[in-house]
Structures are given as C-alpha cells and as structure tokens.
C-alpha cells in the first residue's frame, strides 16, 4: 500500500499544499526536464476527459517520462467486466504511478488502497479532483501575490460543483472571506456551510451576481448545468442571471481575476475574454505545472 497517493485535497496539509505551489513555480520557470526519464506513468481514464488527460500526459512527457493507458473505458478491459481491483493490480505491474479518472465516487481511494504504486486522482465522479484545486490555488497565488486574507466570490452551481467544495476546504488555511452567489436550487450544501462555521471562515450568501462582485479579489465562476433543474423555465432564468458580461466588471477592483474550471457554456460572455481580469485560460495552463509538481512529489523525484 502506498501513502504517497493523492486522492483528496484533504490528503495534503497546509505545508504540503505550499510545497506543491512552490514546486509548480519552479516548473513554470523551467518546464522541460528529464527527471522522469525511464519512468512510465499510466493514465487510466474510465470516463473521457480530454483536457485533464492531455494536461497530465504533457506534464509527464515534458519531464522525460513515458505514458501508457486508455482514454475511454470502452477501449479498456473493464468493458469485458474486469473489476477495478484487477485493472489496478495489472497496470501497477507496468507503471510507476497511475493517474486515474473514474465515473464512480470513491474509486480513487479504493485504488490507492490496493495499488502498490501511487495513485493520482484525476476525478472520481462528483467527489474529488485535487489537481484542479491545486491549480486553482496556484492561480490565486500567482495573480494576487498571496493566498492570505482574500475576498473570494464563488458563483454558479455551489451545490454539485465539486471544484467549489474542494476550493473551500483548501482555502480554509488562508483566512479567506467568501461570498457564495447561487440560485436557490444550487445554493451551497449544509455540509460546507457548517465547515465554514466550524473553521471560523466568514461568508455571506446571495442570489444575485450583479454588484456583488465589486469588492472581490477573486471571482470563481462555475457552470450551471441544465440537468440540475426540474423546471426548464427556471433554468433559462437562472442562466441569464448568472452570465458574467464585460460591462459588469466596470466597478470591480483592479486586482480582480476571474477563474473558471472550464469548460464554460454561457456563464461567461465571450466579451469578457479580452478583459485583463479574465484569467481562465492561463488558469488551465497553470494546470500543467501543478501536475508536474504532483507527479514529481508522488514519485519523490
């Protein structure tokens, strides 16, 4: 059993989070190395996620390592009924570490328990996606120069959005103030409201995007998914209320940066892209350095 796996953001304490962010800055300065020469990393994607897979694979290749794996369960032996247990045991005979995306929640924790090589969770259903959280933190640190005492507005789907939940947990070390902006149907779960209360994290909740972003350092937008709504009329209304337009940024702070885990649908209008406060594409690029840092940490190279 390996304790170097990264399954959940809560597997890392504050020091380890800062260590990863430091390492990522190093990789950004010098992303092409040969520290993984001779190492094989498996990327097992039991459900497709092109963006995350390419980011992990690029991270390996730029460090001189090699990649094996599959990008869709349909091309793996799980379609023949092979258990996750057997797949992990088989692949761990070939690879030095396993990056895994799985549609079921808890799959990564289970894999980490049975695998002799480290598991990096690249998303287990709606549960955890720690490399996304770390790249969010890196993006916040890079754009604000600090993680401490920031005002963070989080908007969109706060009920099902796993990136939001992990962000709250990871930021809890750094004295943030949150404003949660969500329609009634998608407001933050009780579980995370209690988490904030217990960790003395001040927060407020509103249902309107409009003027509520003017005092923010970070605006973290998430996708409002149609399938979450029983009433499609309500979806259409909410979709319009939660569309960020360039004109809405007029009175915001100069240091405000807009983050989004991507892919976006309609929640950020295209005219925001050219505003210097839009940071979501650079944010995606930061993912590469964070993943280089994570892979290097789990392999101790």
């Amino acid at each position: 059993m390996s304790n170097r796996s990264l399954v959940s953001i809560s597997d890392y304490n504050k020091e380890e989070i800062l260590e990863i962010l430091d390492a990522a800055a190093d990789f950004e300065a010098n992303p092409n190395r040969s520290t993984l020469k001779g190492k094989v990393i498996a990327t097992l994607f039991f459900e497709p996620s092109t963006r995350t897979r390419l980011s992990f694979e690029t991270a390996v290749l730029r460090l001189g390592g090699s990649v094996i794996g599959f990008s869709d369960a349909a091309t793996s032996s799980s379609v023949k009924g092979e258990t996750l247990n057997d797949t992990i045991r088989m692949v761990s005979c070939y690879a030095d570490a396993i990056v895994m995306r799985h549609p079921f929640e808890g799959a990564a924790r289970y894999a980490a328990e049975i695998s002799p090589v480290p598991i990096i969770n690249a998303g287990d259903g709606a549960n955890q996606h720690p490399s996304q959280t770390l790249l969010d933190l890196y993006s916040i640190l890079k754009t604000q120069g600090t993680l401490e005492n920031l005002k963070i507005c989080v908007a969109g789907d706060l009920k099902y959005g796993r990136t939001v939940h992990s962000l709250i947990m990871a930021m809890s070390y750094f004295h943030p103030t949150f404003r949660f902006i969500a329609p009634e149907e998608l407001k933050l779960n009780e579980e995370y409201r209690i988490f904030c209360l217990m960790n003395n994290i001040p927060f407020e909740e509103t249902t309107e995007l409009n003027d509520n972003i003017n005092d923010a350092d970070i605006l973290y937008m998430t996708r409002v998914q149609r399938e979450r709504f029983q009433d499609l009329m309500e979806y259409e209304r909410v979709k319009n209320v939660y569309t960020l337009k360039n004109s809405m940024l007029e009175n915001t702070k100069p240091n405000l940066r807009i983050l989004h885990p991507l892919p976006r649908v309609s929640e950020i209008a295209p005219d925001v892209d050219k505003n210097e406060k839009a940071y979501y594409f650079q944010q995606a690029q930061n993912g590469l350095y964070i993943r280089q840092a994570i892979i290097s940490k789990v392999l101790s190279v």
Binding site: T83, H102, F104, E105, G106, I194
Partner: protein, 151 residues
C-alpha cells in the same frame, strides 16, 4: 425487569431489550443470529411503555464482544444490553457507536464505488454539535444516522 426475567428464565447469556419492533429483524441479521446454533428466544410487538411496541432477543450461552453489540447502536441506539449469569444481570452494557463501521452499512450514494464493485464498506463515525453522521471512507459522502441503510 422482574416480569422479563420470569418469562426468560435465561440462565447464562445476553438479553437485548427495547429494540424498536421494526428494527428487530435487522438486529437479528446484524448479529448473525439466523445462523447461530445457540438457543434463541425472539419476541416482537410486545407492549412497551417507553417505545410503544418493542422487540426482545435472548441468546442463551453467549456473551457478545463489545464491538459486536456496539453495532446495534447504529439501528437501535436505545436498546438495552444485559449480560446474564446464573439468572442475574451481571452487566448492563451501555451502547456506544464505534468510531469505524465496517461491512454492516451500505453507502446511500448510488454513485459510490462500493455499490458497483465487490468492496467492503467502511464508514468513519463523525460526531459534532449537529449530531452524529457516518462518512463513507470511499466517496466521502456524509450520511445522517437515521438515514443509514443496513446491508
């Protein structure tokens, strides 16, 4: 208690009393009494001043380990466990939920890996001011005690 002892006349063993009537058979299966060879007396839908209708189980010649009886706290937290020796109650055992629950509960999250592959369930018991909850070790879902499903 006096009345109970008359009925039971259990010389040595364990009495589990004040089980809510609708939970009785869950307790039977949880303790694997369905495959137990000892003499067992099961009563159900008995009148109870405290809980309306109750169930009672008497197992002769067997004293359960504490981690066995503590499982009962999961579904019948107010049940009473009495250990009997020579017709006397020698131990009134308080029920306390263990810190970890293995196997017996099922995760409520339909998308949890434990509901799709042959994996033993494992929950951590979380106690805070809002009450007691189980947290699935795998999918990390929090489950209220009253919503826990027993396998």
């Amino acid at each position: 208690m006096e009345k109970e002892l008359k009925v039971a006349a259990l010389r040595n063993g364990t009495v589990i009393d004040h089980i809510p009537a609708d939970k009785l058979y869950q307790v039977v299966f949880m303790l694997h009494l369905d495959t137990c060879d000892n003499q067992i007396t099961i009563g159900n839908n008995l009148e109870s001043a405290k809980i309306g209708k109750k169930g009672i189980i008497k197992i002769a010649g067997k004293v359960f380990a504490e981690d066995e009886t503590n499982k009962i706290a999961l579904i019948a937290p107010n049940a009473k466990i009495n250990i009997i020796k020579d017709y006397q109650v020698i131990e009134k055992r308080p029920l306390s939920l263990p810190d970890e629950i293995h196997e017996i509960a099922q995760c409520n999250n339909p998308n949890c890996i434990t509901n799709h592959q042959n994996i033993s369930t494992f929950f951590n018991v979380i106690k805070d001011e809002t009450g007691t909850m189980l947290k699935c070790h795998y999918c990390e879902r929090l489950i209220k005690l009253e919503e826990v499903k027993i396998k």
